[in-house]
Symmetry: C2
Subunit: 333 residues, 2 copies
DNA sequence: CATGTTACCGATACCGGTACCGTTATCATG
DNA sequence: CATGATAACGGTACCGGTATCGGTAACATG
């Protein structure tokens, strides 16, 4: 019992392939009665259709390639979720790839994705190496770079400025009276956006004649457990700090748990600050400050950009969509 | 500057399409010098290749379709991550779809995925409606049903018994001396596996002449915030309980935060129990009991099943892979 | 020197659809 | 009744690759 083809459906309905094709696509130029016969035949054969043939023949696919660096914290799954809901009803299909924060792997994945002739491609960040950028340009489809704005986009750009986010957080924490600020980060050699936040933050400190009072770094990827571990180490080494800036919320949440374990009052004694605004943060037993990045919204914006471009047969609005993450969890900001 | 085709590469290298094809695939039957010339031509044209044509012609794809119900808590992203790493190096490519716990949507997504002629398909759970099962059977490719074992699989089956998990947790909690056990759950009309855990749990209670001392349910999907809210409500209504079984760890973590806020000692006064064994759980300021489900491992097992089936040209080992989630966070179990 | 072998390459026929154009039948119109 | 318009359908040529078979040249072999 093999997969049946359009030809078989057509034969069963007593028409030509062409008519069957038209009927199943709901096109005109088909007599109602004939159309019904074809649909019956298709159903009785459980005909499914072959998108490979469809796309090869019609020279268009409904594919949107999406490349994200990771799946291990919730941020990218949420972005993906936003993309798929944004694509819903448009007939587009998102295809995902995970690069593990590895630029070589990212290049290979993008190449592989492009070979499926997608109608658009969404990649994370603006820091692709030149070779990857060349491939993206050559693909001659809408390219959307997501999450980050600090750099030169290939084409479309949707995201937020991580530099601004780091700067704003530093300003807010200083305004809240914090002076001895430490930094806790993970996998900074991979997570370029965290680096951007950190250095913008440091720049604000420097402008006030300050610097990070201490640092704890690790090569592992961010996690609550790692945040807890590094924070424990940090407060042992440098007990007199009054604030910790983390590379993200996972780390900060772990930091909170470490503080609770060591009887450190948050936020009165030490203020903890992260990035992302994970749902987690507003259920925590003590507040942590964070920049609330609109992950779903960015995904949906990217999706809308694509559906628009497909519909209008080209660009209509601006090529860059800017989000500004508000700082929450700091009481009066 | 259009996308170049194999034909153009061949022309530039001064050979036929066929030879170019062979050269780029690294096949034999090509003189080393000719191969080099073709590769040069391909590179100079930034040739990418058209997988649509490749797959249509060769009648095989490197696609593995994966359908999961959600992306909003970390469990499915972790499973996906396991699948992609398990597929790594095999040349297979995972394609994801999200069904939002909606069986109709799941059917449509599966149909759509099948139209891409994937080499295998992974779906979540065993509770697909008949029509969906029929489609899966007709696809005539390896079908893997993931996460759950309680039911009749279409083909391959990788997962754990949620009935057993619920039962074991009930037994463990009773053995720990808990008597007044409440239940807190979310979206039970959608999350069939949570229902299986709950009813197996309830059955154990019933066998001891017990029943849930209280219940808090909600239609929303699970989240830490929801767990916190429902738990707050629960302990207000029924302060004398000594244990809460949650539909999963997100809810339980929220429950913990609620308890902390109300000065309830965990686990001495109330034991909290969830399901999944999220990484989060072992950094929490107080222990919560949970069944540690091997999410990555299940994904990888499914992937390996597929790569094996592709390599051996058929089935080799058993069609069912059983995982047994250990209970952690209960001190002496 | 005739006859394999082997290495390398090309022609042709698909794969399963759609685009495009042409054909036929039917019917209204002048 | 010839003509044109329109509706419904079919034929053919692709889309960009690969499978398959066959051909040619170079070389070894008896």
């Amino acid at each position: 019992m093999r997969r049946s083809t359009l030809e078989e459906v057509a034969a069963l309905a007593g028409v030509s392939k062409m008519t069957a094709s038209r009927a199943l696509r709901g096109a005109s130029d088909v007599a109602p009665e004939t159309g019904e016969r074809v649909r019956q035949a298709a159903k009785s054969l459980s005909y499914v259709g072959n998108r490979l043939a469809l796309s090869l023949s019609s020279q268009r696919t409904n594919l949107v390639a999406v490349v994200v660096p990771s799946m291990s914290n919730t941020v990218f799954p949420e972005v993906l979720s936003g993309i798929t809901t944004g694509l819903e009803g448009s007939g587009m299909q998102a295809v995902f790839g995970i690069s593990d924060y590895d630029t070589d792997k990212e290049r290979d994945i993008i190449r592989d994705m492009l070979s499926w002739q997608p109608s658009a491609i969404i990649v994370t960040g603006l820091d692709q190496p030149e070779e990857t950028v060349r491939m993206l340009k050559l693909a001659d489809i809408p390219v959307i770079q997501l999450m980050d704005l600090d750099g030169t986009p290939v084409d479309f750009n949707v995201g937020l400025s991580h530099g601004d986010a780091g700067r704003d957080m530093a300003v807010a924490l200083l305004a809240a009276g914090r002076k001895k600020i430490a930094y806790v980060g993970s996998a900074l050699e991979k997570d370029l956006r965290a680096v951007k936040r950190k250095s913008a933050f440091a720049k604000v400190l420097a402008a006030q004649g300050l610097a990070f009072a201490a640092e704890q770094l690790d090569d592992d990827f961010s996690s609550i457990a790692l945040g807890k571990r590094l924070t424990t180490r940090l407060i042992a080494a440098k007990p007199d700090i009054d604030c910790i800036y983390y590379s993200n919320d996972d780390m900060a949440a772990g930091g909170l748990f470490a503080c609770m374990e060591h009887g450190i009052a948050v936020p009165s004694q030490i203020v903890l600050a992260g990035f992302n605004g994970l749902d987690l943060t507003d259920s925590l037993p003590a507040p942590i400050a964070t920049s609330k990045s609109p992950r779903r919204a960015m995904g949906e914006a990217a999706a809308r950009l694509i559906t628009d471009a497909m519909a209008n047969g080209g660009v209509s609005g601006p090529k860059t969509i800017v989000f500004k993450p508000p700082i929450i969890g700091l009481g009066v900001a």
